[in-house]
């Protein structure tokens, strides 16, 4: 029993308290050593979020380029994952490893080189390039998830549908897509999260020209304005979660309506 108490105490202190701290700090009007709790609580910093509406554009821009990275990743990885899961490919493990490398090899190495020639061609500082680069460094998460999904799905259902006369588009939309949905959703959320919370690639390839929430909050995080920084850090954390929850809700509803008809 004591062991269990210690275990749960440890889990709470390490994994829950830090986030609670972030919430408390965001409400702290003044909080300095050696006070255990803030001496003044205030909503001022959260109010600032509304009054300073200049955060809306960066937030929207981050949302859009992250979504772009997800969509581009889906287009590129769906056929590849199906093939990795089903086809007999010579040295498949090696190809799979090679395709996963962009997410594993430190991004600085290839990013700085790509930035060099892309800036010569004046292709940097554009949202399109940010989408391409974010996709390049995070599509492997989606590829892995989809390859697993396709392996679990197996080829039988698709073959049966084809035998009944369904074309490839119909097989994908009506058979594979609904069954692959968990793999698509989880892989896409990782890509979205990675893209949304990226700072290095966005500031390198966006050059400060493309608005981004990450580049807005980093100076605040590094400053001594802890309460304002905590508000921004919480938005940075909660925004993608709200997006996922909303998407999940909408899609569930849509699917239920479809299954009723």
């Amino acid at each position: 029993m004591i062991k269990k108490t210690l275990l749960f105490g440890f889990l709470a202190i390490v994994f829950v308290v830090p986030v609670g701290l972030l919430g408390l700090q965001s409400l702290a009007g003044s909080w300095s050593y050696p006070d255990l709790l803030p001496s003044v609580l205030t909503m001022d910093y959260w109010g600032r979020l509304v009054s300073r509406n200049n955060l809306l554009i960066p937030l929207l821009s981050s949302f859009l380029y992250s979504l772009g990275a997800v969509l581009l990743s889906l287009v590129l990885t769906l056929p590849a994952a199906a093939s990795l899961a089903r086809d007999r490919i010579p040295a498949r493990d090696l190809w799979e490893l090679l395709l996963l490398t962009p997410a594993v090899i430190p991004a600085v190495t290839t990013a700085l080189g790509n930035h060099y020639w892309l800036s010569r061609l004046s292709l940097t500082d554009t949202p399109g390039l940010i989408v391409v680069m974010l996709c390049f460094y995070s599509y492997p998460y989606l590829l892995r998830s989809l390859t697993w999904g396709y392996r679990l799905l197996g080829p039988e259902l698709g073959a049966a549908a084809r035998n009944l006369g369904a074309g490839p588009v119909r097989v994908f939309l009506q058979i594979e897509l609904p069954l692959l949905w968990p793999a698509i959703f989880s892989g896409s959320s990782i890509v979205f999260l990675a893209a949304f919370s990226d700072y290095f690639l966005v500031s390198l390839f966006g050059g400060g020209v493309v608005p981004s929430f990450a580049t807005v909050i980093v100076p605040a995080l590094a400053s001594s304005q802890r309460s304002w920084a905590s508000v921004l850090a919480l938005v940075f954390l909660l925004f993608p979660l709200i997006v996922f929850a909303g998407l999940d809700l909408v899609l569930n509803k849509w699917q239920r309506r479809r299954s009723l008809t």
């Binding site: 006070d35 990885t77 093939s83 490398t101 594993v104 991004a107 700072y199 940075f236």
Partner: protein, 277 residues
Amino acid sequence: MGAPRSHRFPVALLPLLVFAGVLTLAGILPSLVGSLEGWGELAADPRFLSSFAFSLWVATVSSLGATIAGLLLSLAIYNLKGAQRVFAQVYRIPLILPHLTVAFLTLLIWTPSGFLASGLHSLGLLDDPQILGPVLYSGWGWGIILTYLLKETPFIMVLVLASLGQMDSQLVLAARNLGAGRWQIFRQVFWPQCFGSLQTGFIIIFLYSLGAYEVPFLVGESYPPMVSIQLYGSLFKQDPSQRAKALAFLIVIFVFSLVFLYAYFRASKKAQNQEDT
């Protein structure tokens, strides 16, 4: 279609291969060409060497620490039931926290005027908060290491718990009935089951922490810099004479990571083959 298709290389893989191949080669080849004159200088410059050594230190300590902590915590919680099992899921919280946020948390908690100092003080355990100063500013990278520990331990736990979930729970019972002690059960039941995930997890977080930019940017000391900071600094901020040297350094990091990854691939293949025979 039910049976595997032909033995030719599948066309469906090509778009992704071309995309990834072009961006990898285009990312490395210009640097390789630009580095040609820098190799001699690189060997003579202790700043790059110390940056590499420092990054290896930080990556090794944080990844080993996260791997060990992740394994122990997974073993502690994998068998929980009911409400306890639900509560234990809090370990997933850091998974959704961006690295930048975790780094900011490290600052909130560990600075000499931070939360830990206040907490210890109110418990009567701390008189002088400056004792905590060395945590973030000693030059040993503890701020970076603590950040990665908090962020990557849950990542290891996800992998380990997934492989423990595939295990037949009767195995532990059988081993116990046959008279195996706790250590023997760990060594002969849990360890072989988890080893693959530990290896995969370690490689991923090791290479990530070796090269990532965000965390050292926020909580790193100014000297020695992690490789990402050193590279960015010498390619963008300093004089052009540093360029060839920095590019040579970039190639070193790239090749090191590739070799590391490939060695892992070979090792895991070997393990797989042994399992199959």
